[in-house]
Symmetry: C2
Subunit: 176 residues, 2 copies
DNA sequence: GTCTATATTAAGATAGAC
DNA sequence: GTCTATCTTAATATAGAC
C-alpha cells in the first residue's frame, strides 16, 4: 500500500500517545505493518513519520481551513465556516492538537520551526479577515491571535475536564 | 539532602522534556544524584517524581494562586494579583504548563485525574470571584473557564511563536 | 543518603530473504 | 512492499557496599 494509506493511523497514534509514546511496536500493530516495512515507507524513522503527518495537516490547512476564511460573507460567517472545519479536525473536541503535543514534548526542537510556520500562516489568514472589518493592523492581528489562543486553550481544557463542552463553546462563540 | 531539594529540578526537567523525555540520566545529571539515589528518594521511580512535583504545584496553587483571588478589592484587582503570580509560575511565558504537558503526553492516564482536580479547584475559585460581581452561576463559571482557556492557550501560542507576548498580553487583559 | 555495578526490558533501526 | 531475524543502544530499575 502507498504510504499515504498509513498517515491517518500515524496521526491518531501521535495524538493519542505523543511522539515518544507512539512506539514502533504500537505503530506496527495499528498499521498492520512490520517494523521493517515501516522503514521502507519512512526511511527516516519516526521523524519522517511525523514530518509526513505534518505534510498532511499542512495540506488540510491549505485545502480546508484557509479557504473557509476566504469565502464570501461577513467575518462571522467565515469564522463559522472555519469553526465547522475545526470541529471535524478535532472530532468535536475529543482529540487534542498535534501541534501542541509536539510543542510540549521531547521532540520540540525537531518540529518547532514547522509548527511555528503553520501557526503563522493560519494567524496571518485570520488577520486578513479582521482587517477587512476596518480594524487597524495591530488589533486585527491580536484578534486573530486571540482566536488561536481560545482554540488551543479550549482543547487543553477539554482534555483536562474530559468534556468537549469548553471546545464546543469556543467554536460557537466564533460567530457571536 | 531531603527530597524536597530536588523538586524544582524535576519541575524544570519535566517542563523542558516532558514525561518520557526527562530520562533518569538527565535527571541524574541535573540533580547531581546517581540513579540509585533517585530511587532512594522516590522509590516509585518517575511516577513518584511527577506525583511529588504535582504535590508541589498543588501547594503552590493553595498558597499563592487561590489566596490572591480572596484578597479585598474588586474582581479586576484580584485577577491582577493572580496574574502576577502566574507570571512568576510560568516565568513570564517562557515556560510551558506542566499540566498541559502531562495531559498531552504518553502518561496522560496516570496523571489525568489529579490534573483534572487541580483545574476544577482553580476554576471553582475563579467562579466565586465572578459570582460576587452579580453574575448568575453559569455565566460566572463560563467566565472562569474562559480565563483558564486564555491562559492555557496563550502559553501554547507563546511556545509556538517563541515569544512571551501572547501570554503577557493575556495576563494584562485580566485586569481590563 | 549516596555510590558502583549490573540486571532487565524495550526502544529505534537494519540485513537480507521472498 | 512485506517479512523474520537480529543488532545496538538506552531506558527503567535493583543489589549491595560504604
Amino acid at each position: 500500500m502507498p504510504k499515504e494509506t498509513y498517515i491517518p493511523f500515524l496521526l491518531e497514534l501521535f495524538r493519542k500517545y505523543g511522539y515518544d509514546g507512539a512506539t514502533l511496536s504500537k505503530i506496527s500493530k495499528a498499521t498492520g505493518l512490520g517494523k521493517a516495512s515501516l522503514y521502507h515507507h519512512f526511511p527516516g524513522g519516526k521523524d519522517e513519520m511525523v514530518d509526513s503527518v505534518l505534510d498532511y495537516l499542512q495540506q488540510w490547512l491549505k485545502q480546508y481551513i484557509l479557504p473557509s476564511l476566504r469565502q464570501k460573507g461577513d467575518y462571522k460567517t467565515r469564522l463559522k465556516l472555519m469553526g465547522d472545519r475545526l470541529l471535524e479536525l478535532y472530532q468535536g473536541g475529543e482529540q487534542p492538537c498535534l501541534f501542541a503535543i509536539l510543542l510540549l514534548g521531547s521532540a520540540r526542537d525537531l518540529f518547532h520551526e514547522r509548527v511555528k510556520d503553520l501557526f503563522l500562516v493560519w494567524i496571518e489568514e485570520m488577520t486578513q479577515v479582521f482587517l477587512e472589518t476596518g480594524m487597524d493592523k495591530l488589533s486585527a492581528q491580536e484578534k486573530a491571535e486571540d482566536v488561536a489562543i481560545a482554540i488551543q486553550g479550549s482543547l487543553i481544557l477539554s482534555q483536562a475536564l474530559n468534556s468537549v463542552l469548553p471546545f464546543q463553546r469556543v467554536i460557537k462563540q466564533l460567530s457571536i
